[in-house]
Symmetry: C2
Subunit: 188 residues, 2 copies
Amino acid sequence: MARWEPGARDRLGEVAMRLFADQGFERTTVAEIAEAAGLTERTFFRHFADKREVLFAGQDDFLQLFLEPIDAAPDGTAPYELIGRSLVAAGAFFTDERRAFARARAVIIAREPALQERELAKLATLKTRLGEVFGERGVGEPAATLAAEVGVMVFHLSFQQWITKGEKRSMATIAHERLAALTQLVTE
Amino acid sequence: MARWEPGARDRLGEVAMRLFADQGFERTTVAEIAEAAGLTERTFFRHFADKREVLFAGQDDFLQLFLEPIDAAPDGTAPYELIGRSLVAAGAFFTDERRAFARARAVIIAREPALQERELAKLATLKTRLGEVFGERGVGEPAATLAAEVGVMVFHLSFQQWITKGEKRSMATIAHERLAALTQLVTE
């Protein structure tokens, strides 16, 4: 049995983020991360499948953030209302404590095309799942696909704003504002 | 002076598309395209900067398709109305003659991540330019960026439908339907 390393995951994550920021994601090895954290590579791999997982951990949890509020909504709730509930409820995950990490992460991802592709794939998966969920709730086409596109678009725009330097408002507030702007765009 | 090759550009384009479809884009060389078309590489390069341009010619024209109808609209036209005018007017470019090419092109692009990235970059440029144009017309933020996102999203969804097997309706008809679905999503 491996010795229990209190806080090892957090320490490895923090050290990895610092190294990715300083010397680039591609150039950073797991051996370097482990050494800088004063831990072994084996400990690293107990917590992360690979170095990319430092940036992309919790894909399933990420999807559930958006899908659970929809599952919880009464039958017959209009799709746009579902999008609003989903974004506002998911917003609670994006706490102020996460904002600094999200900003550092965005800088690292912006520098590496392969990471950008991975990030886009994450949003594409969310879009696909949302479309399926709307379909299962009886929303036809093209409305289900369109609603999924709208949901991911508003999330993405809100997230970009949330990590903008100087932005202090919560994710839920920003998402709400973006949805209101969309409603205004379409109705005026 | 080079000898005039009547129809050389069309012939090179057709041969290139066939080779890309049969053996993949990456594996196909300009030398092969020229040889299969019974022309020289030099002739190829008089018509295309590189083999990628067979798939991505006319980027500026593509942008103008969407921007000109907006430029032509009276001051004070609401952004959503501008999106509608832009998409319906641009739709005239996507003729039935182009549809077979667009379908073959989509299959080739779907197979190569680098081409997908190029295609996404094309849509990203359209999004940026639309956002700028809305801004120049006095639309504030976040409305201008949101309107640009909506325009590109509806175009992209409409285009995907337009190239779907069996689809016979015009691009303008499909774009109109997608916009109506968006209006319904947001208002009901």
